[in-house]
C-alpha cells in the first residue's frame, strides 16, 4: 500500500554563526488511484547574514531561495516506482534535479531493496552588487549524478536494519565564489592577502550508512546509525547518531537525538598559504576544513485530533529544537581577530553554536 494522503505546513529557523535562515514549506500528497500518488512541495528559505569567511570580505547578504518539488509514485504488485523533479532558485544560483527510484519488496516482504538515480544541473553565479541592488555575474555550471542503493531488512519481530550506499559525482564550477584563500603578505596592513579559490573541476564521493531500529520491551524504539564518507578531495567523514522515540498514549510521541560528526580537511585546503599561488588547487572554504560538530535535539509530536476531524483521519502538531556546536581545528576566525594582537596564522580557531527550530502541522486524510 502507498502511504496515507497528507498535507503539511512547516516553519523553520536556523540561527547561528552570524546567519539567520527562516524557512516556510507546504506539502500535499494525494492518491489519485489506490496505486498512483502525486506529491507537491514548496519551500522558501530567507537568508539574512552570512557565514564568517564570507563576512571576512563581503557585506551582509540577504537572499531568498525558492524550491519546488513534484513527485509521482506508482505501486505495482511489490514494486514502487518514484519520479521527482526539484527546482531551486536563488538570484545567484539555479538548480534543477531529476530523480528516479525503484523499491522492491522480497523474501516474504522482509526485505526492501531500493535503487535510485539523480541528475542535477546547476547554474552558479556571484552577486557583485548589494543585497538590495544585486548585479549577478554568471560564472559557470555544475553537473551532479547520484547513484544510490538501499536495503531495509526485518531481522526479528522487534528489530529492523538498513544499509544505504551512495556514489556522487560532480563536474564543472564547484567552488563557492564568495569565499577566498589567504596567503602571507608582509606588504599588507593585515599581513595577508586574499585571492580567489581554485577548485578541481571534478569530485567523486562514496558514502555508506548503516542503521538499526529496535522496539524495546515497552512501547518505545531506539535507533543507532553510522555513516562513513570519503571523496577524491581527500575528505573522510564519520557520522554517528542515536535516537530514542517514546510515545505516551495515543496523543504524544517524544523523541531525543544525539549526533556526532567529524571530518579531516580536503587535500588542497589551507587556512593560510605561504605565498600566492602556492599550489594548483587552493581552498579556504570552512566546509572543507577539519572540523567536528555535536548535536542534541528533542522533538514532540501531539496528535490533537488522534481520531480525526471532518475528512481528516488524524492531525498532529510537531515541535523540534536542536542545538549544534561546531568546532574547527584548522580554520581560524579572521573576522574578529587580527594584528597587532594576532599575527596571521595565530588567530583563535573558529567555533560557534547554532540553534535549529522547526514547527509543523500535519493532516492525514
Amino acid at each position: 500500500m502507498l502511504p496515507d494522503d497528507r498535507a503539511d505546513v512547516f516553519y523553520s529557523k536556523y540561527s547561528g554563526g552570524g546567519m539567520d535562515i527562516t524557512g516556510y514549506s507546504a506539502l500535499v500528497r494525494k492518491k489519485v488511484t489506490e496505486n498512483f500518488a502525486i506529491e507537491a512541495n514548496y519551500f522558501v528559505d530567507k537568508v539574512s547574514g552570512a557565514s564568517v569567511d564570507v563576512l571576512s570580505q563581503a557585506s551582509v547578504i540577504k537572499d531568498t531561495r525558492k524550491q519546488k518539488t513534484v513527485s509521482v509514485e506508482y505501486l505495482h504488485d511489490k514494486t514502487t516506482y518514484n519520479a521527482s523533479f526539484i527546482q531551486s532558485v536563488e538570484r545567484d544560483y539555479i538548480s534543477n534535479t531529476a530523480h528516479i527510484s525503484l523499491s522492491q519488496d522480497m523474501f516474504g516482504d522482509l526485505t526492501t531493496v531500493t535503487l535510485g538515480f539523480s541528475r542535477t544541473r546547476d547554474k552558479v553565479g556571484e552577486n557583485n552588487g548589494t543585497a538590495n541592488v544585486p548585479i549577478v555575474n554568471w560564472l559557470g555550471h555544475a553537473d551532479t549524478r547520484n547513484y544510490d542503493v538501499g536495503i531495509s531488512q526485518i531481522l526479528t519481530k522487534n528489530l529492523i536494519a538498513g544499509i544505504n550506499f551512495e556514489v556522487v559525482t560532480d563536474s564543472g564550477f564547484l567552488a563557492n565564489p564568495y569565499r577566498s584563500v589567504r596567503f602571507l603578505d608582509a606588504q599588507t596592513p593585515k599581513g595577508y592577502g586574499l585571492a580567489s579559490q581554485v577548485y578541481p573541476d571534478t569530485r567523486t564521493s562514496t558514502a555508506v550508512q548503516t542503521q538499526m531500529k529496535y522496539y524495546l520491551p515497552y512501547r518505545a524504539a531506539v535507533t543507532g546509525s553510522y555513516r562513513f564518507f570519503r571523496d577524491t578531495w581527500g575528505i573522510i567523514g564519520h557520522t554517528v547518531e542515536l535516537d530514542y522515540t517514546h510515545p505516551i498514549g495515543k496523543e504524544w510521541i517524544l523523541e531525543g537525538r544525539a549526533r556526532y560528526y567529524r571530518q579531516n580537511s580536503a587535500t588542497f585546503y589551507s587556512d593560510l598559504f605561504a605565498i600566492a599561488g602556492q599550489q594548483n588547487f587552493e581552498a579556504r572554504d570552512q566546509n572543507l576544513a577539519s572540523q567536528n560538530n555535536t548535536t542534541i535535539g528533542v522533538k514532540a509530536t501531539w496528535a490533537f485530533r488522534p481520531d480525526g476531524w471532518l475528512f481528516f483521519k488524524r492531525m498532529t502538531l510537531t515541535g523540534d529544537i536542536e542545538r549544534i556546536r561546531f568546532s574547527y581545528s584548522n580554520f581560524r576566525d579572521i573576522r574578529d581577530f587580527g594584528v597587532p594582537q594576532y599575527t596571521p596564522g595565530s588567530e583563535p580557531l573558529y567555533e560557534f553554536s547554532a540553534t535549529v527550530y522547526q514547527i509543523f502541522m500535519s493532516a492525514f486524510f
Binding site: S88, Y93, A221, Q263
Partner: protein
C-alpha cells in the same frame, strides 16, 4: 580450471534462486514493526530539511535516503 571458477559461483546462485526463502517473521508477528514509531522517517519534510542544513555545512553528503536539490547556501 578457469571455466570452473566461473561456473561454480553461477551454479551456486542458480541453486539459491531455486530455493524459496520462507519469512522467519510471520505476518501476524509484525504488529510492532507496523507501529509508526518503527518507521525510518515519519516526517519527510523535516528529515530533508535537517539533511540540507548538515550538507550545507559539512563536507560529507549522501547515503541518508533523501533526494535533494542543489543550492548556493553560504
Amino acid at each position: 580450471m578457469r571455466s570452473l571458477t566461473r561456473v561454480l559461483p553461477l551454479s551456486a546462485l542458480l541453486l539459491l534462486g531455486a530455493c524459496s526463502i520462507q519469512p522467519w517473521v510471520k505476518p501476524y508477528e509484525r504488529d510492532r514493526l507496523a507501529d509508526p514509531i518503527m518507521a525510518w522517517d515519519r516526517d519527510a519534510v523535516s528529515a530533508a530539511y535537517l539533511d540540507h542544513i548538515r550538507e550545507s555545512r559539512e563536507g560529507s553528503r549522501g547515503a541518508t535516503g533523501g533526494a535533494g536539490g542543489g543550492c548556493g547556501c553560504n
